[in-house]
């Protein structure tokens, strides 16, 4: 008997995040093309979130297939972002999904080491993508019936695309 979908899923890891980020991006494109704007935005937000998390944990030194857990990795990363010297505004609600804060964490942590710091323009671009998506996307979108405006769809798509295109340099 074939294993069920959930049972076939691999543990969360950098590799899984990167692979599924690409898939969710294309799923979003298909939805947007069919006029399902909010559903498209909803998936792109996750694609951005996974791309940023994968970049952070790679920088952190994890291997591509190391298992990522909330208590072992996600929560310590959030705590690191909230603390000095980064002092990132990271509200508790939906903390693990806060794309803006993950982008700022990545930029901030890279700046701590001269060997990893982004150039000024690239740093601003990463932060900007996080800010833009953060203002238009939340994981709780799924509970709501509102329809995204066309310009909102465009903004989230462009920011997500930028992160995906540049994921090797993040």
């Amino acid at each position: 008997m074939p294993r069920r979908l959930i049972d076939r899923c691999q543990p969360d890891s950098i590799r899984e995040f990167r692979a599924s980020a690409g898939q969710r991006y294309y799923d979003g494109l298909a939805l947007a093309g069919a006029g399902n704007r909010t559903a498209a935005v909803y998936l792109w937000g996750y694609a951005a979130e996974m791309t940023l998390k994968a970049a952070y944990f790679e920088l952190f030194g994890l291997a591509e297939d190391d298992e990522l857990t909330v208590p072992g990795h996600i929560q310590p990363a959030i705590n690191r972002g909230r603390a000095a010297p980064l002092n990132i505004a990271w509200p508790h609600q939906g903390a693990g999904h806060n794309v803006r804060a993950w982008a700022e964490l990545l930029v901030g942590v890279r700046a701590l080491d001269p060997g990893t710091a982004y150039g000024p323009a690239f740093a601003v671009a990463v932060q900007r993508c996080g800010q833009r998506i953060g203002q238009l996307w939340k994981e709780t979108l799924r509970y709501h019936k509102n329809r995204a405006y066309l310009y909102e769809v465009r903004q989230v798509r462009e920011a997500t695309e930028w992160l995906l295109i540049n994921s090797a340099d993040l």
Binding site: P85, H92, R128
Partner: protein
């Protein structure tokens, strides 16, 4: 077939001109109190993390806040200094409070027979940098550390004669969630 090419550099981001000028002026003047609260953290790499807490950000998109901060630094300190800023964020006081960044508050505990009125205290709080975004009649003066709150308390006592006994400092202990996550 049309072939569109887009480079890495985006067009310059929109900044809020009035706020750029105001913030640049604040950076040069280095006032001891009042908004905006400008927090700079220097990393060992000499890169800077800048947080600007300012109610003027209300209704300004996050991207424009960052662009405005960077532009103001460039005007006040020059391009080289601006390029040292790795991360610049603009938050209103309620936003920073909601994120748990401002747990200390200076309050006016005014009683009937005190020599100062509630209204006088509210005016002094606003002059000191209190946010009125929590409500016009509910100015909140908040800080990230007890030392900053204590310094503000002392300035308030000087700013408003005979008010020394009314100023108190409170600290929010956070939610149960905060404690569980520690």
């Amino acid at each position: 077939m049309p072939r569109k090419r887009r480079g890495f550099e985006d067009p310059p981001r929109h900044t809020v001109g009035k706020l750029v000028a105001q913030l640049a002026e604040e950076l040069k003047s280095d006032r001891p109190s009042g908004q905006p609260f400008i927090e700079e953290e220097e990393f060992p790499t000499k890169k800077l993390r800048v947080n600007v807490l300012w109610d003027e950000w209300d209704r300004v998109p996050l991207e424009e806040r960052t662009a405005t901060i960077l532009r103001a630094y460039e005007e006040a300190e020059g391009r080289e200094y601006r390029d040292r800023i790795a991360l610049a964020s603009g938050l209103t006081v309620p936003e920073a409070h909601a994120a748990g960044m401002l747990p200390y508050q200076v309050l006016a505990a005014v009683r009937k027979d005190d020599p100062v009125t509630r209204e006088q205290c509210h005016r002094a709080l606003v002059e000191e940098g209190a946010s009125i975004l929590f409500g016009e009649d509910n100015p909140q003066l908040r800080f990230s550390t007890n030392e900053e709150a204590e310094a503000a308390r002392q300035r308030l006592a000087q700013r408003l004669p005979n008010s020394e006994p009314v100023w108190v400092i409170t600290k929010e202990v956070g939610t149960v969630e905060d404690w569980l996550e520690r």
